[in-house]
């Protein structure tokens, strides 16, 4: 252990670290904080400039947003929930076995993995048009099914990379032990590896869900009223209410709550998985 002599200097350094942390945390989270605060202010308070800090809170805006009559905000939340969950599950279901095949048997490593990661590099708008037209032909426009499929597509690259990284770290002995007992490939995958993958599955589930929830472009183009997700629904408030910042702020607070909460649990995995998956994959 290195013994440091200059204690007062350390104290200053430590304090300044805290200070920098505080400033950074404040600056990057300013819009979130301001929006949440605005959602509780009375309209008169919101419309005053310069803005007030001490104010009497009100729940009026939340009542306005959640009470049906204006827009169907609760249904937007439901849509985002369904789309996010459905998309994540499908992405996991499809990527998990594929990752196993890639890692353990080298099948598809040379073409599938790069192809899938390529999806992530494309500006997705270039698919927006044909998917719009395709959905129109088969009647999937503005439907849960249609949006779930898109959400799964967007989540697959991330899921695959994470799973590949994870499985590469798993010792081969597991597979061998399974084969000893006469297990088939499928058994090895689902009965041995799957239960061990709980942490990574949770991480992928959370991350895919957050990504789906935050998707805007496809939600904008492919939905009209039935399957409108929260991200698009919240923008209705901005322009349709024009001056009503209060309701807008309430809508947005609700719109960012689920991913924020989930993110608090999932973020430790993101760093590790992304790093190992990307480096080795």
């Amino acid at each position: 252990m290195i013994v440091t002599e200059r204690k007062p200097f350390d104290k200053i350094v430590s304090v300044s670290r805290w200070l920098i942390f505080g400033v950074v945390a404040l600056v990057i989270n300013l819009p979130i904080l301001s929006t949440v605060m605005t959602s509780f202010k009375k309209t008169g308070d919101i419309n005053t400039s310069p803005p007030v800090f001490l104010f009497e809170p009100t729940l009026k805006h939340y009542a306005e947003v959640l009470g049906s009559g204006r827009t169907d905000f609760p249904s937007y939340i439901l849509n985002s929930l369904v789309i996010g969950t459905g998309g994540s599950l499908i992405a996991i279901l499809v990527s998990f076995p594929a990752a196993y095949a890639i890692v353990r048997h080298g099948v598809g490593r040379s073409w599938l993995l790069p192809l899938v990661t390529n999806i992530r590099t494309l500006p997705l708008i270039i698919y927006a048009i044909p998917i719009y037209l395709m959905y129109q032909l088969v009647g999937l426009l503005d439907s849960w099914t249609g949006m779930i499929l898109i959400s799964a597509t967007i989540s697959i690259p991330v899921a695959l990379v994470f799973f590949v990284g994870f499985m590469q770290d798993l010792p081969l002995d597991l597979d061998e032990a399974g084969k000893l007992d006469g297990a088939s490939q499928s058994d090895i995958l689902w009965k041995i590896i799957f239960p061990l993958s709980r942490p990574i599955l949770v991480a992928v589930l959370f991350l895919s869900f957050i990504t789906s929830w935050n998707e805007f472009l496809f939600g904008l183009i492919l939905t009209t009223k039935v399957a409108v997700p929260v991200t698009v629904g919240a923008t209705f408030f901005v322009t349709s209410y024009g001056i009503k910042w209060g309701a807008t702020a309430a809508a947005m607070t609700l719109g960012i709550l689920p991913p924020l909460v989930l993110g608090m649990f999932a973020y430790p995995y993101i760093g590790k998985s992304m790093l190992s998956g990307a480096v080795k994959g």
Binding site: T121, P123, P130, Q185, I210, T235, V238, Y267, L275
Partner: protein
Amino acid sequence: MSSQIKNCYRGRAVRPLKPQDWCDRLMNLREQERKSARIFLVGMCAFLALILGFPTIANIWFSFNDVTFHNLTGEGYSGLANYREALSNPKLWEALGYSLKFGVICTVFEVGFALLLVFILHPLLLRRPWLTAIIMMPMMVSPALMGVMYRLVLNEFVGIVPGYLDMIGVTMNFLSLKHIQFTVIAIEVLQWTPFAFLILLTARQSLPYDLEEAAAVDGATGMRLNIMVVLPLITPAIIIVSFIRFIDSFRVFDHIFVLTGGGPGNSTTSLSIYIYKLFFKQNDLGPAVALSMTLLIASLALLYFGLKLAVRRNDR
């Protein structure tokens, strides 16, 4: 190897095989496993073929035809006309240039800030890891909603930022032509620096402690440790993060669309916004689709060559 022997000996007396036969048997086994493993890819391939395969084919077809909103099944074969029209429009190249510039600038700032923050905050976060969660918050928010939030926060009359800047005597109009580029870039940087920070922090934290001890013995502590020891070791992570962030910033759409709609005029029209406008604001869908096809081919080509380069480097 021992497991193969175990398998063979199980229950019966067998003569041990020559090494050559072992190799063959191993190969056969692996071949069989490979074949059956291909099934595992079916789900993924089928799904992608369905969702992305058909649109790609449709894209190809539409790009060679005269398609309008009034006649979605095409009015006739038009050959390369769509491609010519799409690629000869100077606005396309402006948008492309804009996206490239935006991507590079944002990436440089994001990775730069992230690196700096990792150096400064690492000891703090080592002791109190939960603090990282607070820094992660912005990246959990939808970029579109983030754009709307900034619209409120930067509003000259009811926004909190101009309000307080006013009190210290600074008037800065964030959405004016002078500052709009700065604003749009700043929003992206502020939201995604945490992502770069997270990856680089993880890389930093995965460095073994013995390293720091050894370096300290040589007199490298604090900033010197960071620059001379840590930095070279986390360089792979820096490259990866830069790559990922560049791609994401290049594709930017959400927060710019919500904040400026691509304006004033066309000054913040990124490539994605340009394609959106081309599709939705004009009757002629052909050029929009032709452009999409071109981009697809371009990015596939780029990745293909990029991979080849990477593989070649690895082989050396």
